[in-house]
Subunit: 333 residues, 4 copies
Amino acid sequence: MLVVMGTGASRGEVAEAHRRLEQMAPGVTWIEGARQSVFAVAGDVAGSDLASVRSLRCVERIVQVQQPYQLTSRAFRPDDTVVSSGNCKIGGGNIAVIAGPCSVENEEQMVRTACLVKSYGAAMLRGGAYKPRTSPYSFQGLGEQGLKLLEKAREVTGLPFVTEVTSVDAFAAVEDSADVIQIGARNMQNFPLLQRAGKSAKPILLKRGLSATLEEFLLAAEYIMAGGNPSVILCERGIRTFETYTRSTLDLSVIPAIKELSHLPVIADPSHACGKWSLVEPLAKAAIAAGADGLMIEVHPDPDQALCDGPQSLKPERFGRLMSSVGKIIAAG
Amino acid sequence: MLVVMGTGASRGEVAEAHRRLEQMAPGVTWIEGARQSVFAVAGDVAGSDLASVRSLRCVERIVQVQQPYQLTSRAFRPDDTVVSSGNCKIGGGNIAVIAGPCSVENEEQMVRTACLVKSYGAAMLRGGAYKPRTSPYSFQGLGEQGLKLLEKAREVTGLPFVTEVTSVDAFAAVEDSADVIQIGARNMQNFPLLQRAGKSAKPILLKRGLSATLEEFLLAAEYIMAGGNPSVILCERGIRTFETYTRSTLDLSVIPAIKELSHLPVIADPSHACGKWSLVEPLAKAAIAAGADGLMIEVHPDPDQALCDGPQSLKPERFGRLMSSVGKIIAAG
Amino acid sequence: MLVVMGTGASRGEVAEAHRRLEQMAPGVTWIEGARQSVFAVAGDVAGSDLASVRSLRCVERIVQVQQPYQLTSRAFRPDDTVVSSGNCKIGGGNIAVIAGPCSVENEEQMVRTACLVKSYGAAMLRGGAYKPRTSPYSFQGLGEQGLKLLEKAREVTGLPFVTEVTSVDAFAAVEDSADVIQIGARNMQNFPLLQRAGKSAKPILLKRGLSATLEEFLLAAEYIMAGGNPSVILCERGIRTFETYTRSTLDLSVIPAIKELSHLPVIADPSHACGKWSLVEPLAKAAIAAGADGLMIEVHPDPDQALCDGPQSLKPERFGRLMSSVGKIIAAG
Amino acid sequence: MLVVMGTGASRGEVAEAHRRLEQMAPGVTWIEGARQSVFAVAGDVAGSDLASVRSLRCVERIVQVQQPYQLTSRAFRPDDTVVSSGNCKIGGGNIAVIAGPCSVENEEQMVRTACLVKSYGAAMLRGGAYKPRTSPYSFQGLGEQGLKLLEKAREVTGLPFVTEVTSVDAFAAVEDSADVIQIGARNMQNFPLLQRAGKSAKPILLKRGLSATLEEFLLAAEYIMAGGNPSVILCERGIRTFETYTRSTLDLSVIPAIKELSHLPVIADPSHACGKWSLVEPLAKAAIAAGADGLMIEVHPDPDQALCDGPQSLKPERFGRLMSSVGKIIAAG
């Protein structure tokens, strides 16, 4: 940790800062610069100590040399984590495609989609039962009934499924039913939900928040791992920028960046990121080429009739084409 | 609602779209352009109908003429809403300053701060008992014990207090104790929490999300009002941009914009927005000059020792100076 | 063009707007809604007329159905434009890699890099002679001497080169020397420079501005084409977001989006976008997988000694590895 | 300067970095941490040396303790700079309002507006003769003829005027005619233009770029001052964010931040920032309350007929009302 003192810090303030820092950690070095002085503190500093240093009026800023996340860091576990659910493996060289409709609407839609995406090679199903919606007047999902339909689709296809949970209250119901539990972008910093996920025995698929930095994303995963759950799949789904042609901006640079910083698997959701079906296939290929461990793709048997996010849903045949071209990218790996 | 058909839409697709639209609403006008045609649909269209139109492959985009929020709109209620708690009124010409520490730390700190900010003219107390923290290793707040200390500070000063709730689980405890319940920026789209707030009899202070548009902000308030709670105070606390000198970018243009679009009171939190105590006073003055109905200011008796957000906390005397200069801006109003 | 009238527009104002619109274009349809009325105007409206409608106080907003760019649009030219320079072709299925150092430093560095990147398959050289630098105290490039060194490298390798021009003053010198002229991100809306480029017989490589929307990017290219120069290569080089781990955020969704909207070739510059050499190869592969017509890659024989942007420069062998893996992605097509 | 070595840096690399750093500056301290080591370098390091350190593969990052700008810094000149033009003074407690139309359209419009804004208290005129326009098909301004009309307005009112220059070519013409020369947001990093401005004897009004950080803004001013021109007025005009209700997001926190970091005067342009006339007055008041040294306000005698930016232009009477309410904020100071 480097503590940069302000230009106007007095001798007394510098001495007081020095005294405090030495109480916190053994190795404190004082470097006097032309206009500003800096303290270098070796070793770990507790979070509360850190806050107390940051609060000192004479401190201009603190530069943390080490990353604030630990369990999620590559340093903590040099080998790639592989998250498994049924026959589906994600990470460590295993690439999986998760597919299905945005919302579970009815049995026919869900089962038919499940069979079709399986036939094209999807390894896991997706479908929203609890839908976080911007407007209170939009379709909010089928809730527990939706979970039953997902179970039916699993029964028919043998594929595991992932579905989103939006509250601690509904967590147990989702946990009992789903194979993988999704925490959506809007809840990436819903800390009680992350803490609950940390106590689950099921893998968690954690989506990046709309304006979350990479560090915040890894710290959200750290909440889950610190709670005791080592099975976290990270998912890039686009960040909010000034561009309006696409719904969000898919940030594929986080894929290789996460590979450097963390051992956790990372997948991409091009459907939600761009919001336009015609851009999904090229972005899916790009995500795999960038090193993603998987994809999450929206597929609807009849997008023209979808209750939610139809414009970004692929028709099954288009999904088949995507699987074929993504397969070539994987092979080119 | 305007439905813009894509350039490649065939006659058959246009006819099908026309047929569907006429099932939804009576007044559908078809305007054939040189290259693209447009349908204008008068009257209200249900949310699910809207999704089904948006999903049509031949539709390029939908332009909504009317705002998607209703109860929060100025059209719904032309007069300013005034939210009251004890003697404190916010909105409709009533300007109130809410002050206190970021986190409740102990009785001495909370009560002393409360007395000091009251002496300088604060009308409501603030203090965090449940703290949403980016890192699982940061101080997470005193929880229910913190609520007790806030009650103590209320008892001593007679001032009402606002404190944040971060989960549906803890809602009842906060609701029983607090005068006004805060939903923080990270939970602005925590829809189960908003729905719970809609059932409360206590006023809700809703902070804008870090990357929330004005429309999403008003739709979050709409969740609360649609649930039956008419007492919502909006709070601008800075949005995330590329600028790194300040923690967030305080967006003061939303203050007069909200005044045009909505009847709800709106306040500003310059402390969290900028993250630097030296910028708080000028931004507080600016917020009031822009038309804000109030301010939320962090004050700590000894910021150098604060457990949280010390760098943005004002010392009590500086807060006194802020109250004096803000008072002059109000008078100049 | 759709003209949405404000909720408060009076009968007289609507009539006046109607009168004005009919003077501008023949087909004006008036659609009266429940609360707001809309005019639909078929056919083209001149820019100055548009401004005069937009300025009407009773107009809430204007929705343009047609794209504001013409010559750059896919509608104007359905087939892909292929830009050629020497043996290097870009667009219409031709993929080219442009490589070289950020700055031209000396003959040995430039010629050696040129020979090496040629040996690995680069089709064009790059190197900065006129450097736009954020600080006046940074190395500003060798200017005309740099052009001479680039010519030398071309002579030795037979490869064409692209180099940046930063002012109308220096345009003639760059135009005489370079094969392709680059207009950098900071000058994407330097309109006199774009107009000058429109009069050139040399192809222009136009980089997207740091906060430019896709529409603004295509309008900048429109300036060049409207001036008479049909040879424009677009280049995505990252946009500015809140993320700080990478220098900018490479927006690969614009690659397929540009392919839909425009006939112009589009390439990606992952080196400048991410600012970290270790992320360049995965992002280069991703860009090609997303459909890019080429890449621009920084290569330096000894990045540890580079005068500029060393941290994002690849060593020649790493560039060779990139060419090999990118080649596999191209083959997987 | 602090040089943070990567976690994987070998002993040999650390030694090589140490050797290089010692060649650059006398006071190099080596601090060995648990996992990473850091070098602290006291004193100034030349820009090219800095680049060569940054390029070392074993260096993770460089933290600059001192600001990269010098002449624009408060440390360089502790007292506020006052920029004068005729009777108009800006900075050091002098607050001035600059007003006029977006574009100069004709003599009647320009002179009438000038007389009206003078009668309400404006201290300087504004009007665009060279207009940077996103589309090549938009009105591009009257050029030199526009300058003549501005001179006429100055003659009639006795007020100085500011107008934008968009190229080095047109600089001399604008310099001969105008009292203050504006460099617009799109040219904030047009370095040849900044260098030309540095050689001028006229004051420069420099607008912040749409995605410029505060540091880049001050470095752009540094270009002008380093060229020899000490008279720079900074102007905040809104930055680009995801919010679409306003055109840009006025960032008022930079006003007090600039006051801390620099001695240069800073004004705000709420008209361009918000793009909606109804928000201009509250934001103008807010800017002054935040400490701005002046305002730039668009006024048009008949905004319904404006050739450019009518929706954000105030009618003269509304401008009068703004001047009155801003006057009260100044008095409340």
